[in-house]
Symmetry: C2
Subunit: 398 residues, 2 copies
């Protein structure tokens, strides 16, 4: 007889999964997926890399590697992280993970007992919320505005849950799903709060490289760079948006004791991440192929975001507002409180367009007059038409 | 302040990890690693596969895939599994995992609450024991003999723990670490027991293809093939030993409800396994490159096993016994009860040879007059010398 563990009740899929699967039909114009368009992957670079691999490198690529990561990749990644100002020294550990998702999941495994509190932004990243919940965490969200998390509300939340709070989870750069970037001032205030309380911070930064304008580069400096080196900040990054999600490679940079404990958990989770793709990612970094690639995708995403913004301005009825992204993949649309995004979804899908409803990103799964539109994946020429369909759906429900 | 979860106390690494790291020095003749030798990977096949990939296939390889797996790989894997007699129908689910290790870990996550009992063989696979423990399971081992698990002892164990037993974990083919293969009779008796008790079975079969003699192929038929299709058997397999561990690809074939629940857990664990290596594994199967590769490695492992057996016969003192493997990677050596394998390890390492001590494979970490010798990884010409060193260490402690 099959008896599942208690944790399974926290994993059961919701309405969202059903809606997402409906949107998988390729004839649908979908703004659902938080992923690059297939045409944007660096296939020429990949071909060059594969052609240049020695027999020995290919053999190593087929073999198990250390749980911490393929040593040459750890080295080239350290060089890359150091160039962004991140602390690479004896006080910190670095671990390659099977996507950033695994880093978030394993941190949850080593930090969370059932009933522990995780404070997140509201809205927040679906995958992180699911990982926290799967280890029994109680999630409490703090509202975001255009400059970042609401500091007063955060303080009140931390006061309220006190010692039960295991960590705070934030995405400061080109937020998923909110599309915003934290201001410098908000970053400073956030750091002040976590430092005063000696609170663990999980900083997720998959989109930091994807600023549309070089002038914004300075705004993307991670909290981990600004903070004192002794602050308990776990910085999670990913190759998904700067190379390819299909490599399934992310990383965790954080206090040595935490990273070593996560490495221990990784041993029994999947032993090591794919050595094959680690070899490719190492070459991508070591051969310095990333800068040119990033230039190209930044331009591409900026253009797509612009097309989507123009379409929203032309099509959306009064009372609907949206963020103006300065980078990343997403635009967050807020409709009048009377509108349920699920109804908009159903109406839009009928006419061939899809997005992700706002409640998917609410830690409590409640608030639902919002939607996330990803402009990263949809071909440029289809964006206008998709927005038209969604705007018509909104109008029909006003 | 960093506060770890309760589960971390079950992950703390033991003596074994320290010993393994000592053995990593490349000048050491190591029989520790359960892995193919680098020279045995199918690099020519890989080159052909990469060269033959279309632009579109490479783009898909860089992209996220469904959590369940890259659909063409699921299809080619089903064809392969069906050819082995495994049930591929609506009652069963199939999931691609990040190595077989992830399948074992995620089954643990969805099945085990702290204190639940998992019954294993003794000795058993380190990685599985670590996964079970990391979710708080209480482990109880049942002795193995040359034909498989001790049926009377298993019955007694199941009587003793009753409803607390969540599942039984076994490796019937070319056991890691014991090197044995279950007899047909023992398989039938085992199935009888789990059927009568309606007990979940986790059947791990990474080595089934690695029989040394074609005549033994019929002996490798999985329990999942022999059992009634409605039996709650989760069959875990891996590409690690039939393609390359660096691909990090395994699979879980089992009752649909279990596999769908594991898939839900995988969503928040790593979203999907590397699409890049899934594309390669699919081509390896679909282009029918595996049969010739398997022929080659079966011969190579048979030869290495033979060299190791001859060396043991020549070098080991009386009172030491070992299994005679008919396939797989391992030989299990039993020394007189008075000898501690850790002492042998220390003495052998000093002279340049290494192995894994028996207690690593004991669910309770106790019994320690045994050692596992892997013949899969060490170059042929070094096997004799390594065995000599270990035999001298044993003699010095008698």
């Amino acid at each position: 007889m099959v008896k599942f563990s208690k944790s399974v009740s926290n994993m059961r899929s919701s309405e969202i999964r059903k809606l997402m699967s409906l949107a998988a039909d390729p004839s649908i114009i979908s703004f659902s997926g938080g992923m690059p368009n297939n045409s944007l992957f660096p296939i020429d670079a990949l071909d060059e890399i594969y052609k240049g691999l020695t027999l020995q490198a290919k053999q190593v690529a087929c073999q198990y590697g250390p749980t911490s990561g393929y040593p040459p990749l750890l080295k080239s990644l350290k060089t890359y992280l150091a160039s962004k100002g991140l602390p690479i020294d004896e006080s910190q550990g670095l671990l390659i993970t099977t996507g950033a998702q695994q880093a978030i999941s394993l941190i949850s495994k080593v930090m969370l007992d059932p009933g522990d509190v995780v404070v997140t932004e509201n809205p927040s990243f679906i995958g992180a919320l699911a990982a926290f919940k799967s280890f029994g965490a109680a999630l409490h969200g703090v509202a975001l505005d255009g400059d970042g998390i609401d500091i007063a509300a955060l303080s009140a939340m931390l006061d309220r849950y006190g010692e039960a709070v295991k960590f705070l989870y934030v995405i400061c750069n080109f937020h998923n799903p909110a599309g915003i970037i934290y201001s410098k001032e908000r970053r400073e205030k956030l750091l002040e709060i976590i430092t005063r309380r000696d609170l663990c911070l999980l900083e997720d930064d998959p989109y930091g490289e994807l600023y549309f304008d070089d002038a914004d580069k300075d705004r993307t400096v991670p909290l981990k760079v600004m903070a004192d080196k002794t602050a308990p900040i776990c910085y999670v990054g990913s190759f998904a948006k700067i190379f390819g999600p299909g490599m399934r490679l992310g990383w965790l940079l954080g206090p040595r004791e935490i990273v070593e404990t996560v490495e221990l958990a990784k041993q029994s989770a999947d032993a090591c991440s794919a050595t094959f793709t680690q070899v490719l990612a190492h070459e991508f970094l070591a051969q310095n192929k990333m800068p040119a690639y990033l230039q190209m995708v930044r331009r591409a995403y900026k253009k797509r975001a612009g097309i989507m913004l123009s379409a929203l301005e032309r099509c959306m009825p009064a009372g609907v507002t949206w963020t103006r992204p300065r980078g990343g993949f997403y635009l967050w649309v807020t409709m009048p409180e009377t509108i349920n995004a699920s109804d908009v979804f159903t109406a839009a899908l009928k006419n061939g367009a899809a997005f992700v409803i706002g409640s998917a990103f609410d830690p409590k799964g409640q608030k639902n007059n919002c939607m996330r539109l990803a402009f990263s994946h949809t071909p440029e020429e289809k964006i206008e038409k998709g927005i038209q369909i969604i705007a018509e759906a909104v109008k029909s429900l006003l």
